[in-house]
Structures are given as structure tokens and as C-alpha cells.
């Protein structure tokens, strides 16, 4: 719409060529948009074998620092090849730019980034891992002490932050955990139905759904969901606070970041996760019940009767009992990764990802360990 003055970017192009004996003719606009064409033209020049070369720059109509860099590079290159080069007829204002470029030339030269050798890489990796392990241990220790202290003196607990955590990480997670565990219940019953029907042992769908959900699957599904939902949020929140120096402000006010930030989050999750697991158990079993009555002709009453017989209370208790430990792992890993963020924005992303991967990994490892220990005790 608006009538623009002709942009300076469509200026005449830059040219070079050999004009006469020992004369390099430079013409046109030596500015950044023209430089790639100019470099190609320079590569195609048939250099005369004369020891002396004059650059006729009278026809250069525009020049910026980029153009001056190219001209300077050219002169340097020709001189290295043993020629005497003179620049003639360059306008004074362009000569000024060229002077600025050449006077800074000695100071520049970016340091070449050298790849360290394998020994150095191993050394760096080992020292990095050691440092990380030490700081992780330190963090776990600090948090445990903090939690222990505040449990002994509950007045130090930030109740508002705790309640807010319960709402955000517990209550608000109800729809998604409910839906997912319902679907998992449906899937397990449905897959089991095929096999059970072959043997005519339809009623065992109750054992299948009840034991697997209550003991293993519900706690794990909830923990994985919460690791993705809350653990990542903890890392990102604390990390951003670190980047914006909010953590430093907290410390200079004489407050402990562990007590202020870590404790409410850990407590909230330790309370919320078992509750969410009970809820997930209920909906998962309900999903299994629906499929049982639909596909296997096991009515709701039969299902519930069998449930009482087949599924011992300990399965439920073992599932619920694992949940607080899962919560502890998720919250601590999330907060720890948040505190590890040092630099800028991309660091936040990296550590948030790490927090989710690490907490899910540790939750599953812990779960496997529980299985082994419980099988020793024959539970």
C-alpha cells in the first residue's frame, strides 16, 4: 500500500574484473547483500602474473563494513601471494571504513575451538558425574533434614503453599488420572477376557484385574502421570526462579529455599499420590467390572463377591504403601533438577526433561526393588 522509497537493498551489484595490465577494476555497491555474488566473482578472476597489482576503486559507489572486510581479505590474500597491492581512488569515507577494518584486523581472529582429546573428555565426564552425584547426595541430605525438622516443628510448614500444592498436583489431576486408570482397567479386562473364555474360567477376570491394578499398575500409572505433570513443573518453576534471581532474593531474606519451595511440594505430593492411587484403583476396577459383565457375563454382584475372596487386603495396602515413596522420589528429583539449572532458557528445558526421565526411571527401579523384597517375605 504505502509507496516506499526504493530500498537500498536493490542497489546495483558489485563487480570485479581485470581491466588492463595489472589493474583490478572494482565497481558497484560493496555491501552485505551483494557480497556472496562478489565472492563468487572474485573466485573466477584470472589473476595476471604481474608482481604489482593496482585496485581501481573509483567506481565503488557504496561500501559497508562487510564490503570492507572482503576488500581487506582480498588485499591480504594477494599480498601473501607475494604481490604488491595498492588501492587507488577509494572515496575518503570508504577509505575510513577500510582503515577501521584493517586497524582492528590484528586484534581479531576468533580462537579456534579445539576438540579435547579422549583422555580429557573422559576426565571431564568423570569429574562432571562425580560433582553431580555429590550435589545430589547433598540435596537429598539437606531436604531430608529439612523435612525431619519441620515434622518436629510443624509451625515451620508453609500451610498455604502446601494446600495450594494439594490443589494443583492432587485435585486438578483427578480427571486425567481417573480417565486413564478407567481405560487401563478396561484394557486389562478386555485382553484377559479372550484367554479366560478359552478355559471357561471367566470369573478369574476378577483376580486378574484386582490384583494387577491394586498392587502394581495403579500406583505406577499415577506416579508416571504425576512425574510428567508435577515433577516437570517443579523443575521448571524452581529453575525459572533461579534464572530470574528469585532464589537469591529468598536466600538474602534469610529464608531457606528448601523449607520454602521443596518442603511444601514434597509434602503435598506425599499426601496427594496415595489418595490419587486409591481413586485410580476404584475407577480401574470399575472399568474392569464393566468389561466383565459385558464380555464375560460376570455380573456386578458376582464380581464384588469374588473380589472379596480373591483380592487380599495386602495387595491394596502394598500398592498404597508404595505411593508415598514414589511421590518422594518425583518431588525430590523435580526440585533437584530445578536447582541444578544454571544458565539460561535452554537449560530450563533440558533439566525439565531430565527430571521427568529420571523420576520415572527411579520410580520403576524402586518398584522392581519392592517386588523382589516382598517376594522374599512371601507377601
Amino acid at each position: 500500500m504505502a509507496v516506499t522509497s526504493k530500498p537500498s537493498w536493490t542497489r546495483p551489484e558489485a563487480k570485479v574484473g581485470i581491466g588492463g595490465a595489472g589493474v583490478l577494476r572494482c565497481e558497484g555497491s560493496w555491501t552485505i547483500p551483494n557480497l556472496s555474488a562478489l565472492s563468487r566473482a572474485l573466485a573466477g578472476v584470472q589473476w595476471p602474473r604481474t608482481p604489482k597489482l593496482a585496485c581501481d576503486a573509483t567506481q565503488i559507489t557504496a561500501m559497508d563494513t562487510g564490503g570492507a572486510v572482503v576488500l581487506h581479505r582480498l588485499v591480504m590474500q594477494l599480498r601473501r601471494e607475494g604481490r604488491q597491492v595498492t588501492i587507488e581512488g577509494l572515496r575518503p569515507e570508504f577509505a575510513e571504513i577500510l582503515r577501521m577494518v584493517s586497524s582492528n584486523w590484528n586484534r581479531i581472529g576468533l580462537p579456534a575451538t579445539t576438540r579435547p582429546g579422549w583422555a580429557e573428555q573422559v576426565d571431564q565426564a568423570v569429574s562432571k558425574w562425580t560433582k553431580q552425584a555429590v550435589s545430589a547426595l547433598g540435596f537429598i541430605g539437606e531436604s531430608t533434614v529439612g523435612i525431619w525438622r519441620s515434622l518436629n516443628a510443624p509451625s515451620g510448614i508453609r500451610w498455604r503453599a502446601l494446600l495450594r500444592g494439594l490443589e494443583l498436583d492432587g485435585f486438578n489431576a483427578l480427571p486425567i488420572t481417573g480417565l486413564l486408570s478407567f481405560l487401563i482397567g478396561v484394557v486389562i479386562a478386555y485382553q484377559g477376557a479372550e484367554q479366560l473364555r478359552k478355559f471357561g474360567t471367566n470369573i478369574f477376570v476378577v483376580d486378574l484385574v484386582g490384583i494387577s491394578l491394586l498392587r502394581e499398575i495403579s500406583p505406577l500409572i499415577v506416579a508416571i502421570l504425576i512425574a510428567g505433570r508435577s515433577g516437570s513443573a517443579y523443575a521448571a518453576e524452581i529453575g525459572t526462579m533461579k534464572v530470574t534471581e528469585e532464589l537469591d532474593a529468598v536466600q538474602t531474606l534469610g529464608l531457606s529455599p528448601v523449607q520454602l519451595l521443596v518442603l511444601p511440594r514434597v509434602l503435598a505430593l506425599v499426601i496427594a499420590l496415595p489418595l490419587l492411587t486409591v481413586y485410580a484403583d476404584g475407577l480401574g476396577v470399575f472399568g474392569g467390572m464393566l468389561i466383565a459383565s459385558n464380555q464375560l457375563n460376570v455380573s456386578f454382584t458376582e464380581f464384588v463377591d469374588r473380589f472379596e475372596e480373591a483380592v487380599a487386603l495386602r495387595h491394596f495396602l502394598i500398592g498404597i504403601g508404595k505411593a508415598p515413596f514414589f511421590a518422594f522420589i518425583i518431588a525430590l528429583v523435580g526440585c533437584y533438577q530445578g536447582f541444578q539449572i544454571r544458565g539460561g532458557v535452554d537449560d530450563v528445558g533440558r533439566h525439565t526433561t531430565t527430571s521427568v526421565v529420571q523420576s520415572i526411571f527411579l520410580v520403576i527401579v524402586f518398584d522392581a526393588w519392592c517386588s523382589i523384597v516382598l517376594s522374599w517375605w512371601e507377601l
Binding site: 581472529g109 576468533l110 535452554d346
Partner: protein, 264 residues
């Protein structure tokens, strides 16, 4: 040196009757000003008077509630539509916090506009980048560092190097000297003057720094009360009768700066 263009008489920036409102807060009631080619134009005024907002409107990051802002004769808000790539190459912006890309090293940050907008060979890019890093006074060994490893002043200079790497005709500086020590701030002023002399740069800067205003600004617009209270050279403004301008320039710091620069 920017060659003279056909439309040299059209102002490089034209702000006419701009009105800006954020919810209930009215920032600009009626702001009009023009910036001419080749001058150092400063926008001054108290905190919260909408200096930075005006700059964001000029570079097309924000739409004024009403009124027209033109940059190189094109309405600024249309710059975001992507039809005006060539305009984006013609100006550089240095943001207040530097706004360096934190995943790139200093050298990569400075090289970013060249890599996006040109097809230069890596060698030439490397030389131009090294030259710009040297010319803003950064040591060569800082080139491989990431922004979070640099001090505040270095980050500011790196941001300037990135803003000028394309040799733009127009350079925007948002509070370039805020938070810098007096020596570096003075060096910054020198650098701007040098660039202006060498490359014929037009500079628009938002600043509170009265020393800077006296030293390098050709013209100053004082914003206040949602309008432009006055435009002119520092000498003219310091003689203004407007009570708000007087308050701004004749506080204790204003008098000190004037005593130093105004009498020469």
C-alpha cells in the same frame, strides 16, 4: 556511508497521533514525531511514560491502539506479516537485557543475522563477526562463551555487535547505558558516534542517561503525560518553560550533566 536515495526527504521514522492503551491504562494520548536520516534521536522521559512501548511500536512488535507509525515509509505493524523482509535487514535493535540467544555462543549470536539473511561463505561471516566483536570492544576469547558466562556489560556490547552486524541504516537502542559503569557508558557513547560517522547510521535511543543525552543526541523528544512535551536539541530543551521538562532536566543530576556538557 548510506548512499542518498530517491526519497531522501521522507523521514526514516514517522509517528503520527499515536494513542496506546493497555486495559484501563492510557500510555500514549497523542504522540507524533519524525526522525530524520542520519541523526541521533533520543526518546527521554520519566519511568513508565511509554518510551519503550513507543519503541516497540516503531519496530513493529506492538500495535498502537490508534494512529500510524511508519518505518522507512511502511506501516510498522505490517512488518510482522513477513512481506517486508528487506525492511527487517535495514534496522538493528539492541534490547535492554541484551536478548542474546542463550543456546548460542557470542560469536554465533552475532553471526545469526548474517546466516539468516545472506548467503556469505563461513569464512567471510567469521571475519565480519570477529571484526564486529572487536569493534564493540569485546576480547576475542569471549567469542566462544555462552551469554550466561558473560557479565552484564559484555552482554550489552554483544547485543550491540549483533544489532550492527548487518550494517543497518537504522539502529534502535533501548537504554543502552543503564547499569553500565561510567567508563563503559562513555565508551558506548563514543562507539555510537563512531558508527554514525563511519556508516552514516541513524540512531534512535531510549535513555535516562543525561550524560549520554548531552554527549551524543542530536535531538531529544521528551515524553510525559501521554504526549510529546518537547522536541529539540538538549540546549533548546534545557531552556524550555514546560514544568515537567524543567523537572526532568533541572534536577540535581540534570544540572550536573548540563554544567559538564551544556556550557561547552
Amino acid at each position: 556511508m548510506t548512499p542518498t536515495l530517491a526519497g531522501v526527504e521522507t523521514p526514516i521514522i514517522e509517528v503520527s497521533h499515536v494513542f496506546t492503551r493497555f486495559g484501563e491504562t492510557v500510555v500514549h494520548k497523542d504522540v507524533s514525531l519524525t526522525v530524520r536520516r542520519g541523526e541521533v534521536f533520543a526518546i527521554a522521559g520519566g519511568n513508565g511514560c511509554g518510551k519503550s512501548t513507543l519503541m516497540r511500536e516503531i519496530v513493529g512488535l506492538q500495535e498502537p491502539t490508534s494512529g500510524v507509525v511508519r518505518l522507512f515509509g511502511i506501516e510498522s505493524w505490517q512488518l510482522r506479516e513477513g512481506r517486508h523482509h528487506e525492511v527487517h535487514r535495514r534496522f538493528g535493535v539492541m534490547f535492554q537485557q541484551g536478548a542474546l540467544f542463550s543456546s548460542l555462543t557470542l560469536a554465533e549470536n552475532v553471526a545469526a543475522p548474517l546466516k539468516e539473511h545472506t548467503r556469505l561463505s563461513p569464512d567471510v561471516i567469521r571475519d565480519i563477526v570477529a571484526l564486529k566483536i572487536a569493534s564493540v570492544g569485546l576480547p576475542a576469547d569471549s567469542a566462544a562463551k555462552y551469554p550466561n558466562e558473560l557479565s552484564g556489560g559484555m552482554r550489552r556490547r554483544a547485543a550491540l555487535a549483533r544489532a550492527i552486524v548487518m550494517d543497518p541504516e537504522l539502529l534502535f537502542l533501548d537504554e543502552p547505558t543503564a547499569g553500565l559503569d561510567p567508563m563503559i557508558a562513555a565508551g558506548f557513547d563514543e562507539l555510537v558516534l563512531q558508527l554514525k560517522a563511519l556508516l552514516g547510521l541513524t540512531v534512535v535511543m531510549v535513555t535516562h542517561d543525561l550524560d549520554s543525552l548531552w554527549r551524543i543526541a542530536d535531538r531529544v523528544a521528551v515524553l510525559g503525560d501521554g504526549t510529546v512535551l518537547g522536541i529539540g536539541t538538549m540546549r533548546e530543551l534545557s531552556r524550555s518553560d514546560d514544568p515537567l521538562i524543567r523537572e526532568y532536566f533541572h534536577g540535581p543530576r540534570g544540572r550536573a550533566a548540563e554544567g559538564q556538557h551544556g556550557s561547552t
